[in-house]
Amino acid sequence: MTMNGDAVKVVPVRHYGRWVAAGFALLIVAMLIHTLFSKLPTGHFACQVVNGVRKCHPDLTWRFSWTIVGQYFTTSEILHGLVRTLELTIFAMVVGIVLGMTLAIMRLSPNRVLSTAAWTYTWFFRGTPVLVQLLVWYNIAILYPVLSIGIPFTPSSWALVHITTTTLFSAFAAAVIAFGLNEAAYMSEIARAGLIAVDEGQVEAAISLGMTRRQSLRYVVLPQAMRVIVPPTGNEVISMLKTTSLAGFVGVVELLGAASNIYGGNYEIMPLLIVASLWYLIVTTILSIGQFYLERHFAKGALRSPPPTPTQRLRRDVRGILRKFRTQRGPLEAVR
């Protein structure tokens, strides 16, 4: 639309409500940052009575005792705990993903026995708390003091191999099994959703090329199902990272366990909980970045153009701002 040959200027709607809400959010953020780095008022130093002796907080300045956090952040005990946490997460997720995929494929099998077995597994392991399962696996020797390999339904004296259960089930192994089997129940549902999401025509096309069921699953269905499976699996990894803190209940010294061992000795509860939390946050951040690139990889072909990476987006934004800046300098230059 033109008036007197000039383009009519467009004035966008002003969202006053949004501006107020954004201002309020900014205020809260400012208050949070302020309190994180605030100092305790004099005379209110945190003091505790330990063995009849009044012991005051050595960090007399920061409310969140950042000095002590810094002191313990990279001690070998904490780092060993961190490694244990990562090991537990990785092993449990491997068990969970492999078993979960198998359960999902069983669940979709035309054979009713297989699909019912998979359904029952999910029902049981999703229906009981993971902490209970952990304690059961840790104490499994009460039910089965000796494990034997032999022929089912025959006396145990016929068996060839006998193993004392406690030698097999260390606290760490019990935790991996408990978390892994529990995770498999959730992963099977995620994998099933992914497999169902792939169009039936894809399987028909694969089969009419002469592929077997297994080949069509491997080369056609799974790669496309991954697009649906990866995002919630990333969530599961992050959730598992934090669930492993339960392993402390059976004596595995993971990240939180290491922190609590330290504060059990020096009563610096808050600083050590902050140390553990910061490490959990760091690992979660790294995992989220990994998830972004993994999702991008499996989105191949599904989107006409893949979403930009953070660096690409930054470059595009900078270019956009520069262009705006240039056109604002004057109509003469803008025309050129």
């Binding site: 028909e204 009419s208 090329l209 002469g210 077997t212 191949k300 072909g301």
Partner: protein, 254 residues
């Protein structure tokens, strides 16, 4: 070798108690193009899918290149073949779908090479050069690194034809190959199919393109309610239909 490429004798098929095919007979000679026409729900797609055993027929005899599809005769009984044998049979029968069904996660080139590599055991280099040859044949040399979602429907269907041809089939089945296309894209797909027919490929085509049937087909079969109502030379069947049903069908589509 004198026998027909496809022989269908008294084939029956029902879904959940509803009979879709009620005793169909059909013969496709080597090197000939056969078109199946008929109203929707008449069973033409089902018949096509029975030919490469995507659907199992319930009764009757179905032979491709002299072999019973999906079964073998032993001791007077039909035994269903195992998956491996059925897959080997299917690899020699090309199929083109209404919805293209290209593998969305693979590029155009990979769509054409995957069957050769995984099913026939062809080396990746040989598979690629064959794929490029076929892409040139369907006029899409410059699209090999695109993903299916990045090209038009007509181009996707031409890639689907190239994908089927890569397996060096002795028979090509087309299930309404132009029905999902915008009208202006139909021509490019039909041109590829005409070219294929001229090269001597045996083809069975389920279609609503009466002009294509008239021009290319050696035989046309009109299916209605699960039986062959009329068949013969397309110029006769389509211009001077004998049955009332075909007459009313043609008056609707032409």
């Amino acid at each position: 070798m004198s026998e027909a490429m496809v022989e269908v004798r008294a084939v029956h098929k029902s879904y959940n108690g509803i009979e879709v095919l009620r005793g169909v007979d059909l013969t496709v000679a080597r090197g000939e193009v056969t078109c199946l026409i008929g109203p929707s729900g008449s069973g033409k797609s089902t018949l096509l899918r029975c030919i490469n055993h995507l659907e199992k027929h319930d009764a009757g005899e179905l032979r491709v290149d002299g072999d019973l599809v999906g079964y073998e005769m032993r001791g007077g009984k039909l035994h269903e073949r195992n998956d491996k044998q059925i897959c080997a049979e299917r690899a020699r029968i090309g199929m083109v779908f209404q919805r293209f069904n290209l593998f969305q996660h693979l590029t155009v080139l990979e769509n054409i090479t995957i069957g050769q590599i995984k099913v026939k055991g062809v080396s990746p280099e040989a598979a690629k050069s064959k794929a490029r040859e076929l892409l040139a044949r369907v006029g899409l040399e410059n699209k090999e690194s695109q993903y299916p979602s990045q090209i038009s429907g007509g181009q996707q269907q031409r890639v689907a034809i190239a994908r089927a041809l890569a397996m060096e089939p002795k028979l090509m089945l087309f299930d309404e190959p132009t029905s999902a296309l915008d009208p202006e894209l139909v021509g490019e797909v039909l041109d590829v199919m005409k070219d294929l027919a001229r090269s001597g490929m045996t083809m069975v085509v389920v279609t609503h393109e009466m002009n294509f049937a008239k021009e290319v087909a050696n035989t046309v079969y009109f299916l209605d309610a699960g039986v062959i109502e009329e068949s013969g030379d397309p110029r006769e069947v389509l211009t001077a239909p004998k049955s009332e049903r075909l007459r009313s069908f043609l008056s609707k589509v032409l």
